[in-house]
């Protein structure tokens, strides 16, 4: 668990981060979201002491990080950078093994772990002897992730990890990221300015502005219970898409009418987002889908039923 308690970083008169507090429970992903200069990256870098705080305390698993030797602290925290920061004079294998090497792992253990990570990240073993500049941007970013995960640290800090990638590669990596069981066991703090990415990957989101946290909450809370106009305006631009992505079929379950069941429809689990279901529609005639809950309960719905339930849900949220 990571606890950030009233942490500040002032550069002279400039308050880059001013009294920020939040907690990240174990195995959860927290997103620090905001525009450039809002203090999100400074906040992240204070957690592994790349930047020293001028005030406040940070605890990882109950231990104050300021009481630990910085090098030892950092070896226990995975770190992924926007521009991957791979060592250009190291091969892929050597890059992945940097932290294991610093921790003085034996060669066999390191090699085994490297092979395991390559497989999980869908990277060919042939790359091991290659140098970073010989790989594509997406591959480099995966190697960067592998390097951060190599010593299996419980905490992972990610500074705009996918910021330098094109959209297609990015959404591919997002999907892999969510599917990676390795990451489900980590406590992750990720910085991004990309609202879509924040909603897709975060369990909780801290929206920051001018060095302070404006709102800390789940994606639903930010969408449907914005604390002020800043939060509302920040999401306004992509609101509909975010809502579709955030709302699960389970949220709409009570609001869906009972229709005649059709056995040969496409079938979705209640954990599926509305966005994914809508994407499957081909819009030819009276098209319906099946939604299954707890294996035995099944509801059938068409596009209109789903839309109507969606608007009822939204109205309900804003009046609660």
């Amino acid at each position: 668990m990571i606890k950030v308690d009233n942490v500040s970083r002032h550069f002279g008169e400039v308050k880059a981060v001013d009294g920020v507090s939040f907690e990240v429970p174990e195995q959860e992903t927290l997103i620090l979201l905001g525009t450039s200069g809002c203090g999100k990256t400074t906040t992240l870098k204070m957690i592994n002491r790349l930047i020293e705080p001028t005030g406040g305390n940070i605890f990882i698993n109950g231990k104050n990080i300021m009481e630990q030797q910085p090098e030892a602290l950092r070896r226990g925290i995975g770190y992924v950078l926007q521009n991957n920061g791979l060592f250009p004079h190291y091969t892929v294998a050597e890059n992945i093994a940097i932290v294991s090497h610093l921790l003085k792992w034996d060669k066999q253990k390191t090699e085994k772990r490297t092979a395991e990570l390559l497989e999980k990240l869908h990277l060919d073993k042939a790359y091991l002897k290659a140098y970073p500049h010989e790989l594509s941007g997406g591959q480099q970013q995966r190697i960067g992730l592998a390097r951060a995960l190599a010593s299996d640290p419980p905490v992972l800090l990610m500074d705009e990890p996918f910021g330098a990638l094109d959209n297609v590669t990015r959404s591919k990596i997002h999907a892999e990221f969510k599917a990676l069981d390795e990451l489900k066991r980590k406590t992750i703090i990720m910085v991004t300015h990309d609202v879509q990415e924040a909603f897709e990957l975060g369990d909780r989101i801290c929206l920051m502005d001018k060095g302070i946290i404006v709102q800390n909450g789940t994606p639903e809370e930010l969408l449907f219970k914005p604390k002020n106009d800043f939060v509302k305006d920040f999401l306004e631009h992509q609101r509909l898409q975010l809502e579709f992505k955030t709302i699960k079929l389970n949220d709409l379950w009570e609001l869906l009418p009972e229709l005649n069941k059709e056995a040969d429809n496409l079938s979705f689990n209640v954990d599926t987002s509305l966005w994914e279901v809508l994407e499957s529609f081909r819009f030819n005639g009276e098209e319906t889908i099946n939604i299954s809950k707890d294996q035995n309960e099944i509801k059938t719905a068409g596009f209109e039923q789903l839309m109507s339930a969606f608007y009822q849900y939204k109205n309900k949220q804003s009046h609660e």
Binding site: R75, G85, P88, I98
Partner: protein
């Protein structure tokens, strides 16, 4: 052209042992200084990349050192470190510093900040980041600096010969003094080749991939150390006495060559510029030097001339030489100039030179004092009847003589004078005269014979046996060839001479060059 190359090739073959020795010395000098420069420059570059507030000062000082003319820097070194390899290496080291410090600094600063941040975030310590990340990544840039420094050093190392540190400069400066093109090329071509070869070799090292650099890094110090050793290979065991000869003296028949062939003199010899030679003898770094017999420093440093008992140094008696048409134009000129004939002997001239060179009195004052003392001084008569143009070469003695003559003409005739002093060398001075730019200047019989008439070896042998035959020969030939008249000799003989410290010569009982040889042969 073909013939020219042939003779250069022959010269190099003939001098191959010396050429090899000089080349090895040259390589040694270059790399010793380079090694030290890397050992000093690399840590300094690293330091200022950490403490950027120091970078301005350090780079400023290194840059300033580089702007000091190389010969001046060598000059500054002599009072501190004497002559020989030490000051040369220090001077070369100072030149090599700037490119190494600057490139280390920019190389390290140029390392991608994301890579440095990643290294820190992975938990690397400062030293691990320096050795595993910053230095390997900055290496190509640092190597470029070392390359630059190497090429600079190969060039500047030619000047090392001026302070007796050896190297290819011995040929280059000897060749310049002797007007020997082959000798210049025999030094210049190898040193240019060295610069090119080292540059190319280092460019290969620079391009080696990051991986191989790790091995290259171990090989490099070994290689550098080997190259440094080159300097010591040619160094022979020092004999009893050490001689310092100018590059010019080394290549002349009436110099080192004559000493070997006529006297059979074998002495440990280093080559040195005459600017520092006398002082080095005074400071006991040299025992025997090749000086000029009337040089003021002889007196200043208490040196004594060894008698040339086998007459290998031709007489260099000074006398004014005058254009015939000037003598016709100014009928009283010859009589006036001859007022000085026989008035200045060797020790008087040495004393006059001592006053200008060492006591820093002005040539005018020295000239006037001399004329007063000999009751030759007359007040100026106004000089309304034409202008006599006096020339002089570019050293103290000639300035004094030009001033004395100027005062004599102003005092004894109605002519005015204009002086063109400081003409670069014999050739420039004599050309000025034949082109009717000056009317007369003081010349030396030996110079007239060897440099202007370029007499054959036979003639030289025949006429240099005594001073009168030399004088008669040049007088006759100058009249015939150039319509220039040699007036009566002034009296002193400014010849080449071997000299030693008075005290040491007395102690060892050495009065003549033959004595010196006997002493050296004794064991």
């Amino acid at each position: 052209m073909n013939e020219q190359q042939q003779t250069l090739w022959q010269f190099m073959q003939q001098q191959s042992a010396k050429l090899q020795e000089q080349t090895l010395q040259h390589i040694g000098l270059t790399f010793i200084s380079l090694c030290i420069a890397v050992l000093v420059g690399l840590p300094l570059g690293i330091l200022i990349s950490r403490k950027k507030q120091l970078s301005g000062i350090v780079l400023g000082i290194a840059g300033m050192l580089q702007t000091i003319p190389s010969i001046a820097l060598l000059g500054f070194m002599i009072p501190l470190l004497g002559i020989g390899p030490k000051p040369a290496i220090v001077a070369l080291l100072l030149y090599a510093l700037l490119p190494i410090i600057r490139n280390t600094y920019t190389g390290i600063l140029g390392v991608d900040s994301a890579v440095k941040e990643a290294a820190t975030a992975m938990g690397m310590s400062k030293w691990q980041i320096l050795f595993k990340v910053e230095l390997p990544l900055a290496m190509p840039v640092i190597f470029a600096g070392i390359r630059t420094a190497t090429v600079i050093n190969v060039g500047v190392a030619t000047l090392a010969s001026l302070i007796a540190a050896g190297g290819l400069g011995e040929f280059i400066f000897g060749g310049i003094s002797l007007n020997n093109g082959n000798m210049i090329l025999a030094g210049a071509i190898p040193s240019a080749l060295l610069a090119i070869i080292f540059d190319v070799l280092l460019s290969f090292v620079q391009k080696i991939s990051f991986k191989k650099i790790k091995q290259a890094l171990y090989a490099l110090p070994v290689l550098l150390a080997l190259l440094c050793l080159f300097y010591f290979i040619p160094a022979k065991s020092t004999g009893k006495l050490t001689a310092g000869f100018t590059p010019e003296f080394m290549g002349r028949q009436d110099g080192d060559l004559g000493l070997r062939s006529r006297y059979g003199l074998k002495i440990h010899t280093i080559v040195i510029s005459d600017a520092v030679m006398y002082k080095a003898a005074f400071e006991k770094q040299l025992d025997v030097i090749s000086g000029y017999s009337t040089d003021g420093r002889l007196k200043a440093y208490n040196l004594v001339v060894l008698d040339d008992d086998k007459h290998i140094f031709p007489p260099y008696y000074a006398a004014p030489i005058v254009r015939d048409d000037a003598l016709r134009k100014f009928p009283d000129l010859e009589k006036t100039l001859n007022l000085l004939a026989g008035k200045i002997n060797d020790s008087v001239m040495t004393d006059l030179n001592y006053r200008t060179d060492y006591l820093h009195q002005s040539p005018e004052r020295v000239a006037k004092d001399f004329l007063m003392a000999h009751q030759l001084w007359h007040a100026e008569r106004g000089g309304k009847d034409g202008i006599v143009r006096i020339g002089s070469k570019i050293f103290g003695e000639q300035y004094i003589l030009a001033n004395i003559y100027s005062m004599l003409i102003m005092g004894y005739t109605d002519h005015d004078v204009s002086t063109k002093t400081g003409l670069g060398g014999t050739k420039i001075c004599f050309d000025a005269m034949t082109n009717n730019q000056i009317d007369f200047y003081p010349e030396y019989t030996g110079t007239g014979l060897l440099a202007i008439l370029q007499a054959s070896a036979q003639t030289v042998n025949k006429v240099t046996a005594n001073k009168d035959s030399t004088y008669n020969y040049v007088q006759q030939q100058f009249e015939k060839r150039y319509q220039v008249k040699w007036l009566k000799p002034i009296g002193f003989n400014n010849a080449y001479a071997l000299m030693m410290r008075q005290e040491q010569a007395n102690k060892l009982g050495i009065k003549t060059i033959s004595n010196l040889k006997q002493y050296l042969d004794r064991k």
